[in-house]
Symmetry: C2
Subunit: 246 residues, 2 copies
């Protein structure tokens, strides 16, 4: 399983992913699920991945190879030739469809769900504002707007209440990153198939450069402060509310 | 969908269920999912139900009819003739299997999942201590012990973190009921198919009588105090933790 969150805020983007991959409970490993492409000063992309690792890694590879090839006239845009974030999201969807079709046609006996993968794409191109997309397994996608400024993929339920209650598009990125990590903390406590370390990027709008990228390990002092502080705060808050007396 | 919780505490049981039933989003109704049988001074049972309403209602009806018939020698025990809670749980599982077999055999084209139902059974018989069981769709069951003093059925993920963090078997029933209602509040906010009112029973051990049974409506002042107080407390607590500065 996986847990990934992307937030679109007035000041930029906060994107984070866990790193646990498992095929059964006795085959557990760590893989990066947060990927970055950037041409500093021109465009940045952060892509979070969930689903079949053979599919997501093939998508990452194909996106990278296409990006580094010179754009041929008439060819579909790559991440580096896409004129807008909308075209970049289409490009992720197209590559996903191509990878799934290739892998599924080699295994006609398997169901389409075997090649399941989905993505959160955030980024900024030139003078466009930063944008955030949720790319579905079907290759189509939706964009975050002011009503719903965030997306989650993977094991999303445990960590949703804190996002719903606290995230506000006007937050500072550091404050939003704290809430994202609290959302991870709730998920990590409840689902063993989501695991540390956590990769996180804070992207400040209009910088067109990834400057704040961190990997948060199991024993990270800040994460431990948050986790313990949050547990204590919840217990105190719950204790202070009036008891049921019916 | 449904959300039900049963807690086994040193001082007794707290059991609660929502009341929403839906077949599609445009066919929504309220049905009781918390059912009680009692012979005051001798035995009490509280049963929470999730799944196909035609199955759960048939199970409730058959359990009730069996309980009110005189026990025939050699017959399987009913709720009222079961010597222990273990036998009562077996009786729920047996009736569930009978109902599913009857309904499924009338519709051989449908999959077994169409007749899905599961239950939480709590209660006390005579001098046994109060016990709590989770009866699976297969008719078998597990019992709550000191390591895991609670069960949830239905839409359980949103409301699990608060239970995991705060429930302690030594709590007073009124304090535990508060935590159960906070767990419902998180679930209600995130899943439209779980809805008010909430039915709740607080059973004080060794009373062998249901004395504290309530229905909490949408505008219940205590529930509104909890819901608002909890939102404010979470926001304050999240605000007071240190910002991420990486």
């Amino acid at each position: 399983m996986t847990y990934c969150v992307g937030l679109k805020l007035d000041r930029g983007l906060v994107m984070a992913a866990d790193t646990r991959t498992n095929a059964g409970v006795d085959n557990v490993a760590s893989y990066k699920k947060l990927h970055i492409w950037e041409k500093p000063g021109e465009r940045v992309f952060i892509l979070l991945t969930a689903g079949n690792l053979a599919v997501t890694q093939a998508v990452i590879n194909q996106l990278t190879e296409e990006a580094h090839h010179r754009h041929k006239k008439g060819a579909e845009p790559s991440l580096y030739s896409a004129p807008t974030m909308f075209h970049a999201a289409r490009s992720v969807g197209r590559v996903l469809n191509q990878v799934r079709e290739r892998q599924a046609s080699a295994q006609p006996g398997l169901k389409a769900e075997s090649f399941y993968a989905s993505f959160i794409l955030g980024g900024q191109i030139g003078k466009e504002e930063p944008r955030l997309f949720n790319v579905y397994a079907e290759g189509n996608f939706i964009e975050a707007g002011p009503d719903t400024p965030y997306f989650q993929i993977g094991e999303h339920k445990y960590g949703k209440p804190i996002l719903d209650r606290v995230i506000d598009p006007q937050m500072r990125l550091g404050a939003a990153a704290k809430i994202v990590l609290l959302s991870f903390d709730s998920t990590l406590r409840s689902n063993l198939s989501v695991g540390m370390p956590i990769d996180m990027v804070l992207y400040n709008r209009d910088t067109l450069k990834i400057e704040r990228q961190v990997r948060i390990e199991q024993n990270d002092p800040y994460f431990m402060t948050l986790s313990t502080g949050w547990s204590n705060a919840l217990r105190t808050a719950a204790g202070e509310l009036p008891e049921f007396e019916g």
